[in-house]
Amino acid sequence: MDTAPPDFKSYWDETLNDLGRFSPAPAVTPIPLRTTGFATLYGVRLTSLGPYRIFGYISVPTGTGPHPVLYFTPRYQSVVQPVPQGISNELRRHFIVFSLAARGQRNADEPFAADFPGWLTEGIANPASYIFRGVVADCVRGLEFIAGWEGVDPGRIAVVGNDLAFMTAALGNGATPGATHGATHVATAPELFFGLPPKGVPYPRAEINDHLRRTPADRDAVRRTLSLYDLRAFAPTAPAARLILAGPAGAELDGKALAPLAESEHATLRESKRSNYKDGLTLLSWLAERFDMPDPQALLPRAWR
């Protein structure tokens, strides 16, 4: 990949090697309040790079499986819910659903509690200590964990989320000693990493501009850090079956900008239609088709059926 800096591979190899030094030491606890007749919910604590203890919600359908997996990587917010807001709870009937809280987010906020805004630029001038080095490692740890869960269908593991989903699916492909298998599909709606942002972008990327306005001497260092997180550099190793959900035409991260992420025979690139109903249908239809789900309507929230 032309845009990858020379030390891209060594940076991430070292990160994953460091992650591999720590056993995940999972502690799984049932959550009866959110357990239904068709799915059991658990909370899990895992050790990640650092060491740092992170958290996730796992929902497991009733029955022996094998079950397809939907792994929701963290959104850019403090709160992580068992199923992301707006997604039908009925999905838990059909998938193992895993939602991860990375370091700094609620339930994974000791000893580090992230600020919002602020998470994206925590330590950004130094790639070795940048908070997202740990956050990406957390996401990879989550993928290793859920891919090894009993009853998982190893041929249908989708990672869904923003930039972190794409990075996780690209990096967590059996790369660490604990890994059994990786993601087979990825759906990503990038919002964080694509080089230095232009002036006037909204949050969260506006955080980077805030940082540089206050500390202009950091510009080269920040540019260098961001080059290690540029999604284009992850594209060659991401799963071929990928859905790229770009911003609307004319936005900073529109289809034209994100086209390099879709250079794969099995890739699908869609620009936002500025409707989370229509964009949500795009995601769920893609999943249903790629996972050969018998009743795609069953995946939709009630208001969309």
Partner: protein
Amino acid sequence: MPPYKPIDFDAFWNAVRDQADGIPLLPEVVADPVRTTPDVSVFRAYFTSLDHIRIAGWYCRPAEFSGTLPALLTLPGYQAEPGIPVDWARRGYAVVSVGMRGKLRSNSRFNPGIPNLLTHNIVDRHTYAYRGIYADAWRGIDFLLSRPEIDPARIGMVGSSQAGGLTIVTAALRPEIKAASAGSPFLCDVENAIRLTDTYPYQEINDYLAAFPDSRDAVTETLGYYDGVNFAGDIACPVIMNIGLRDNICPQEAGHAVFDAVGASDKTLYPYPDQGHDAGAHLHGPVVAEFFARHLRKEGGG
């Protein structure tokens, strides 16, 4: 069918207001040089609310202005943190964005977590989570009134989702609000909404009722005191409301119910087909900007 409204609804909220009014506001702003831009001054804002809980938020205003400014109160959605309202400040408003109890920086003494917030003490109206959250919202108006640079006769409120519901409640309780824009209102027509949805946050109540079926009557009783529909009749200021006809989080039926209940004669509903919980935000933004300009700006600016 309209939601159940307890006979002592007004007495209950008058008592809560009396209790809150007895607590000194102790407003404070601290300049935030990282978030301040050449055209917008950004401050971290603080005030004290019900139960003596310290509430944090953001306060923004134009870097340069003359005279007094029109002002806005805004709030975050259920799972969001308060945003920094630089865009409104750029348009010439002083704006406070309040992080109610439970939000980051306002959660050191109250932190039931999400999920759980929506059902925290839901069987008891006197300790239900939203008793304090509603107070935190309306104390945002008191914070604005404490600022010497704002015009107390030109205060508006804007928000979507949970903030849409809180806009309804606050506009009903605080006549200082002269114009209100509510989008995709949460916390309205709740008993109906939980039947129509299978998504979080309302799913929290369904989870709770499934786990504790004997609590249904107590939950209904509590929700009667908190449902936005039961507040809406007291709103007198102009209101606009936008809803998505494919809203998967706050069902459009609930939006219609609360809009119908709004007491103001000057009210307009903007229903957006083929839109979900964002309720046509990209189309509706200019409508909201024009609405506040018409009601809160003086001719010739200011």
